[in-house]
């Protein structure tokens, strides 16, 4: 499975209303390079344009200016090697787990005999063996997101875009499914672009954490995450706490109980 690198070149997005007399800058001058096989989290408050950025990579929206390059090729429409997992439930209630997972290959005209192997492998990777014949309503929210992930894995993606995929799940399930995502990432080595507003999730999963500011969404700072996996707080509470405090400060979450003299990690890159 070959992954792809992702390059953002001064990507900006301005939303205008129909009359064109009122516009909102959603993204401004996003410059970023994501290496092939890297796991990057985009962290920011709601309304910072992080989902818009993801949809631009997915080819669902066009940037107002700038470009997104996949292995050097500009993105203009959905790329067959790029798959997306959405926050909302995207499993089709009229299809079983196996039929949901097979959907993309079926639409590409791959015959059943040929897609069965890929579907079984994907279902095994997401840990849903034994649930192939179940319908989504018989599954929990977390299991439905696993089905959505299996549907993307079947397509052998080079880049996996995830838009707050575990945002609707409880903290416990979110952690467990996050660890499984890391296992899947390890097995497939695809590039993962993971949008989240959860600091814990970003720290648990990503190699690099890109913090966006709100309106317009700009890259505020980028943090390297050097904690060893699995990243549980108890393993290295000092480093964990420092990284969390730094991220909290970067997204502007400071409070009265926040100690201004506590140690911070320096971002790898910060806004000029």
């Amino acid at each position: 499975m070959v992954s792809m690198q992702l390059t953002f070149q001064r990507v900006s997005k301005i939303f205008s209303n129909r009359l064109g007399n009122d516009s909102v800058a959603a993204l401004e001058d996003i410059d970023l390079r994501i290496a092939s096989g890297e796991f990057v989290a985009i962290l920011g408050p709601s309304g910072c344009g992080k989902s818009t950025l993801l949809e631009i990579v997915a080819g669902l929206q066009a940037p107002t200016s700038g470009e997104v390059l996949l292995d050097g090729e500009p993105v203009h429409s959905p790329h067959p090697r790029v798959s997306v997992v959405f926050q909302e439930d995207s499993t089709f209630p009229w299809r079983t787990v196996a039929e949901n997972a097979a959907f993309g290959l079926e639409m590409r005209g791959v015959r059943k005999a040929e897609r069965d192997g890929a579907v079984a492998h994907a279902i095994e990777l997401v840990g849903l063996c034994g649930f192939e014949g179940h319908y989504p309503h018989q599954l929990s929210g977390g299991m439905r997101q696993r089905v959505a992930i299996a549907r993307t894995l079947v397509m052998n993606p080079a880049v996996l875009l995830m838009d707050e995929p575990f945002g609707a799940l409880d903290e416990q399930t979110r952690f467990v499914i996050g660890e499984e995502l890391l296992r899947i990432w390890d097995a497939t080595r695809c590039t993962i672009f993971f949008v989240t507003h959860s600091l814990h999730e970003a720290v648990q999963l990503a190699d690099r954490i890109v913090v966006l500011s709100a309106r317009p969404g700009r890259i505020k700072s980028i943090f390297e995450n050097r904690l060893s996996r699995p990243r549980v707080e108890a393993k290295d509470p000092q480093t964990y706490a420092v990284l969390m405090a730094s991220l909290r400060e970067a997204i502007g979450l400071t409070s009265a109980v926040f100690d201004p003299d506590a140690p911070r990690v320096r971002p790898a890159r910060a806004e000029a």
């Binding site: 067959p80 439930d89 959907f103 309503h137």
Partner: protein
């Protein structure tokens, strides 16, 4: 919350309730006399007589020959229009208040126009039945199409599906449960429309028979026809309920929509 009653308990209670209604009917019949309210046995005898002599079978076949084409046309036109207006937002927005407006008119008031346009025979009954049935299926299909999850459509776009694939594999399967509810309501209303038309002006059919029996105070025939109408109505409803459950194994909201109509 206390224990939910078992299915057996519910069915037993239903049977008991029907028995109670029959008992009240029998009591009423002996209190008012069978000329006013014939007993259940007398009504059954009249139905059997109607089948033997042919007049009840004939009327039933005439009515069904009007209801079925009316329903088929209502289903095709309603579903097609619903999908088209659900996808073409602009036209959906333009036409929706008009559709709802016409739907809310007591349609029987428009029957004279149908008579002038389609004459006294089969055509006016089919047209009037269609006019009743087309609305629920159009309204429910349009509603389901226009509120289809945007995420489903994004999935379709990220997979580069053709418009035809999106329609056949995403849009239509997503709206089938709502369409099944629409079909059931459409059948009931088409049936009502045809009977109303037959009762207003016609030469044959169950509605005609009902009117004829009413005007001669033949309450046995009146009740016989009502029982046949009830059997057709309940029977088709059960078939459509079964269809609904088949296509929406998981969707309690589809059944709630039924209650809302």
């Amino acid at each position: 919350m206390s224990h939910a009653p078992s299915t057996v308990t519910i069915v037993t209670a239903r049977v008991a309730f029907v028995a109670l209604l029959l008992a009240l009917w029998i009591i009423g019949s002996s209190a008012y006399g069978s000329a006013v309210l014939p007993s259940p046995l007398e009504v059954v005898a009249t139905i059997l007589q109607g089948f033997r002599e042919g007049w009840l079978i004939h009327a039933t076949l005439v009515t069904l020959s009007e209801v079925l084409p009316a329903f088929a046309i209502a289903a095709i036109v309603g579903a097609g229009l619903g999908i088209a207006l659900g996808l073409a937002r602009f036209w959906g927005d333009v036409l929706e208040p008009m559709v709802l407006g016409v739907y809310s008119i007591p349609k029987i008031t428009l029957y004279p126009i149908f008579l002038v346009l389609f004459k006294l025979g089969l055509a006016s009954k089919v047209a009037f039945g269609f006019f009743h049935g087309v609305f629920p299926i159009e309204i429910l299909t349009q509603g389901a199409t226009s509120t289809i999850s945007p995420t489903y459509l994004k999935v379709a776009r990220t997979l580069n599906l053709t418009p035809w694939q999106t329609a056949a594999h995403v849009v239509i399967p997503a709206i089938v449960p709502a369409m099944a509810v629409g079909l059931r309501l459409a059948f009931s209303l088409t049936f009502i429309g045809v009977i109303l038309a037959e009762m207003s002006a016609s030469r044959a059919g169950l509605g005609f028979l009902l009117n004829a029996a009413d005007s001669t105070f033949d309450s046995r025939r009146t009740l016989a026809v009502i029982v046949i109408l009830a059997i057709i109505g309940i029977g088709t409803n059960l078939v459509f309920y079964a269809l609904e459950r088949r296509v929406s194994p998981a969707r309690p909201e589809a059944r709630q929509a039924t209650l809302a109509m």
